[in-house]
């Protein structure tokens, strides 16, 4: 297939970026979106031009590294699909495709389509874990977990940390991401001990890092490639309010 690509090019965070148009012929329709960009980059390198920089690694939808804004949608418009799992057969021959980086105050552009998402790691560092040390823990089956809760917890834990939810949110909120982690533990007995602290610390960190507030538009759920549900946000809000009253964080 033949394509016209409008790709955001930006040398680094200190200079302005712009769209550059490329024509690409004979793209196999079985190729993935990133393989299509590989083909473009091979051509650019041979022409002595600067290849397009983008994040990617596993190319099977699990590492969360890839993330492109494609025709106005994070990871493209298809449901439950990461950029690397998007195949060219989903596009029409002759199509014009616009490709941009995640755009969010919390994710400064590093180069072209690559952004800095380290703020997501900082959110987890605030409390997205159970603080057990290595060793000295009880036998695994000493902690039975209701299967239904375990399954829901697993669903929440499926978040790949791609940041599409933040990128698509008009407020740049990380609520879906944080609530997924909070919910994973809120649904398990292991998570109860620190539950009140965890939710308050993670929410506080979200504010510190400049993520926006949630205004319940739910664009995040619609665009999340892993189908993380906004019910997690509701669960987190409930837990947060209860925790704030019962056991506010000591400053």
């Amino acid at each position: 297939m033949n394509l016209t690509l409008r790709i955001w090019r930006q040398k680094n965070n200190t200079v302005k970026g712009k769209f550059v148009e490329y024509h690409l012929d004979n793209v196999p329709k079985e190729a993935s979106f990133l393989e299509m960009l590989d083909i473009l980059n091979e051509q650019l390198v041979m022409k002595g031009e600067d290849p397009v920089t983008f994040d990617h690694d596993c190319r099977e939808g699990i590492c969360g590294a890839c993330g492109l804004y494609i025709n106005g949608h994070p990871h493209g418009k298809f449901k439950n699909t990461t950029t690397c799992q998007l195949h060219m057969r989903k596009f029409a021959d002759g199509a014009t495709i616009t490709v941009e980086p995640w755009r969010s105050a919390a994710f400064p552009v590093i180069k072209d389509l690559m952004v800095d998402r380290s703020s997501l790691d900082k959110l987890i560092q605030a409390g997205g874990y159970v603080s057990v040390h290595t060793g000295g823990v009880p036998d695994a089956n000493a902690i039975p977990v209701n299967k239904h809760c375990a399954d829901l917890s697993m669903d929440a834990a499926s978040c790949i940390g791609c940041g599409a939810c933040v990128a698509t949110c008009k407020n740049g909120s990380a609520m879906l991401f944080v609530s997924a982690k909070v919910s994973q533990f809120a649904l398990l007995p292991q998570g109860q001990v620190e539950a009140r602290d965890r939710v308050q610390k993670m929410v506080a960190r979200m504010d510190e890092l400049g993520f926006g507030n949630c205004s319940n538009t739910f664009a995040c759920e619609a665009e999340c490639p892993k189908g993380i549900s906004v019910t997690n946000i509701a669960r987190m809000n409930r837990q947060f309010l209860a925790a704030k009253i019962a056991e506010p964080l000591k400053k």
Partner: protein
């Protein structure tokens, strides 16, 4: 150089207990004065870093990706083994040990494997305590499933995303330590060399991938947990940035490489479809629990399938050859990976392969759907089926899946002793980067176990034993001439690549290397083919240095990153071929066509090859020196593997 595996005295089951009882310790005040560098944040690196941090050491961790959570362990699907015997089906530490040694075709060290089996149960306890949402039964207790090479159900899993959940657990534990300040994370950094001072590993040179600057980091000890080198084949189930460079430069600085030719080719991957393809996707081995593998009995029918004239569902039951069930009635579709891969290749070579390429076999769920119902199948494998449909554009609930073997895992790696220390003092290797535990073939669900065993339960002890002697050694300055020199050499390597300015892209050369490796150093190897491969790799390496084209850019430069890795693969591939050529036997993933039984089974040679092959670097264009670590089996009877 001498190889000393330093296996503790005493009966097998007491070695690790004795080791721990007599190892040296470091008191808390001294721990704060000791620095450890960890390269890699996969299961092995992240669990080690978290544990070191908790113990009170100062830890610096490095990874290539933008976040430690993206290490390729994240992609592991199927599960993790442990000898819990929760299903009460007769499992035990000894049995897990036995299966692993046997599965590895008797080319692994007994003492290491036993320790692995011993700590496997602690891993599951640890992970549950961390809040990893493992699959559960309605009773609320943990669920298990079976995996290739075992007759018990000992595999714990979290949907088809076990690696993701285990890694996020280790990442969480490490994040906790980052917050506490004991661990410092350096993401988007690639280690390009180890720095040796007075015979000990004392630091690394890394490239900051964002700025392009080289950085020096010093420490009292260095752990390499950089994963496997399967990408030497270009196409594999590994991630795009998976590489062998960290281990390779350790090798060039005096650490030995062990069994480099032992590569695992996984039987259930989505077949290759075009030369623009960048990676192969694994369909978890767990699918073999319920899927049945077949090809048409009749070559002519296979030809019609290839031409698209008939469909798989047009082939009646009696015309299907369930070749694994036919050849291996005891294990059927659950034979170990190497056996399943070769059997698939054999059928395709015989002209019975399907897909338009003829390089695929069917994995059929029809019977499972009839037996369990579509819903149950969906619950177990839903995400895998979805992934398949996305890539192949066919619905596996209706048409059988097509699969073919692909490079998946490297059993070989840095040689380590019982303490996971390489032949360079203070340089340790963990996870897929080392060679220990899996012999010539790894069983499913054992890599996750090994990575976490190394990081949570082995290194914290052995590292302490090493560092106990180092408490008097003050922090190192990175101004030492050894750092200066190492950085200079890295800078020269980079300059040399940038200066070639030829006419071939890095990927195009990498793909050609991949073809050579797959053709001659892949599933079936011969003396002739391997000699040819060595020649061709050398030629290709020369071509790389004369004709590769890498742009000179300020800051971020993906092409340069790839080029540095491929330059190393071009050396590594040769060592793999040499090792395969040296090993005149077939064992595990290493199949030499000259050494097979009349019915096509692998023929091991225990009289002459029951050893670990460890290579000492002598220069890029010189032959490496082979050192042999003899393997002694005192606790298992060495038998020809038989899955019939």
């Amino acid at each position: 150089m001498e190889l000393n595996s330093r296996i503790p005295e005493g009966p097998l089951a007491e070695k690790w207990i004795n080791y721990k009882a007599s190892q040296k310790l470091v008191n808390p005040a001294n721990k704060r004065k000791l620095d450890i560098i960890v390269i890699g944040t996969g299961l092995a690196g992240a669990s080690a870093a978290a544990s070191f941090g908790e113990m009170g050491f100062n830890v610096k961790v490095f990874c290539i990706q933008d976040s430690p959570r993206r290490a390729h362990s994240i992609a592991a699907q199927g599960g993790i083994n442990a000898a819990k015997n929760y299903p009460n089906d007769g499992d035990s530490v000894y049995r897990l040990f036995y299966d692993t040694v046997k599965g590895g075709d008797y080319r692994a060290r007994e003492a290491n494997v036993y320790r692995l089996a011993e700590v496997s149960n602690n891993i599951i306890d640890q992970c549950v305590a961390q809040g990893i949402p493992f699959a559960r039964e309605y009773s609320g207790l943990l669920a298990n499933r079976s995996f290739g090479g075992a007759q018990v159900s000992r595999t714990f899993y979290a949907k088809g995303q076990t690696g993701q959940q285990l890694l996020l657990g280790a990442y969480g534990a490490m994040s906790k330590e980052i917050e506490r300040g004991t661990v410092k994370m350096y993401a988007r950094r690639e280690m390009l060399d180890v720095v040796i001072v007075d015979g000990r590993a004392r630091g690394v040179i890394v490239r900051n991938l964002v700025t392009g600057e080289l950085e020096r980091h010093a420490a009292h000890a260095v752990v390499i947990a950089s994963g496997g080198y399967g990408r030497v084949f270009f196409l594999s189930t590994n991630a795009m940035s998976s590489n062998g460079s960290a281990a390779w430069h350790a090798y060039k600085r005096g650490a030995m490489m062990a069994n480099p030719c032992f590569t695992q080719i996984h039987p259930t991957c989505i077949p290759v479809h075009g030369d623009y393809q960048s990676k192969l996707t694994l369909m978890s081995e767990s699918l073999r629990n319920d899927g049945r593998i077949w090809v048409p009995k009749d070559e002519k029918k296979a030809a019609l399938l290839r031409e698209g004239k008939i469909k798989a569902t047009d082939i009646p039951e009696e015309e299907r050859d369930y070749y694994l069930e036919r050849r291996y009635p005891a294990f059927g579709n659950l034979v170990p990976r190497d056996v399943a891969s070769r059997a698939g290749k054999e059928r395709c070579d015989a002209g019975c392969g399907v897909n338009n390429t003829g390089r695929a076999v069917y994995l059929d769920f029809k019977e499972a759907i009839q037996r369990l119902g579509r819903k149950a199948v969906e619950e177990k494998y839903g995400n895998l089926f979805e992934m398949y449909e996305r890539i192949v554009d066919e619905n596996p609930y209706v048409t059988p899946m097509m699969i073919y073997p692909a490079v998946h895992y490297t059993m070989g790696g840095l040689w380590v002793d019982y303490e996971l220390q390489t032949t360079v003092k203070g340089l340790f290797a963990a996870g897929e980067a080392n060679f220990s535990d899996h012999g010539a073939n790894r069983l499913g669900a054992s890599a996750l176990m090994q990575g976490l065993s190394d990081g949570y339960f082995v290194l914290p002890y052995t590292m302490q034993n090493y560092l106990a002697d180092q408490i008097g050694v003050p922090r190192f300055s990175t101004d030492l001439p050894e750092f200066e020199q190492a950085e200079k050499e890295v800078r020269e390597r980079i300059e040399k690549i940038l200066n070639v300015n030829g006419t071939e892209t890095v990927d195009s050369i990498h793909k050609r290397l991949g073809h050579i490796m797959w053709e001659y150093v892949g599933m079936s190897r011969t003396k002739e083919g391997l000699e040819k491969a060595i020649g061709e790799i050398k030629k290709l390496r020369a071509e790389f240095w004369q004709n590769v084209k890498v742009p000179r850019l300020k800051g971020m430069n993906n092409e340069l990153e790839k080029a540095l890795r491929v330059a190393d693969f071009l050396e590594m591939g040769e060592l793999m071929a040499r090792d395969a050529l040296m090993r005149n036997e077939s064992c595990g993933g290493h199949f030499r066509a000259e050494y097979q039984t009349p019915d096509g089974e692998a023929m091991r040679d225990d009289v002459n090859y029951s050893f670990v092959a460890a290579y000492e670097f002598k220069g890029v264009d010189s032959e490496p020196v082979l050192h042999k670590e003899e393997l002694k089996f005192e606790n298992v009877e060495v038998k020809q593997r038989n899955y019939k």
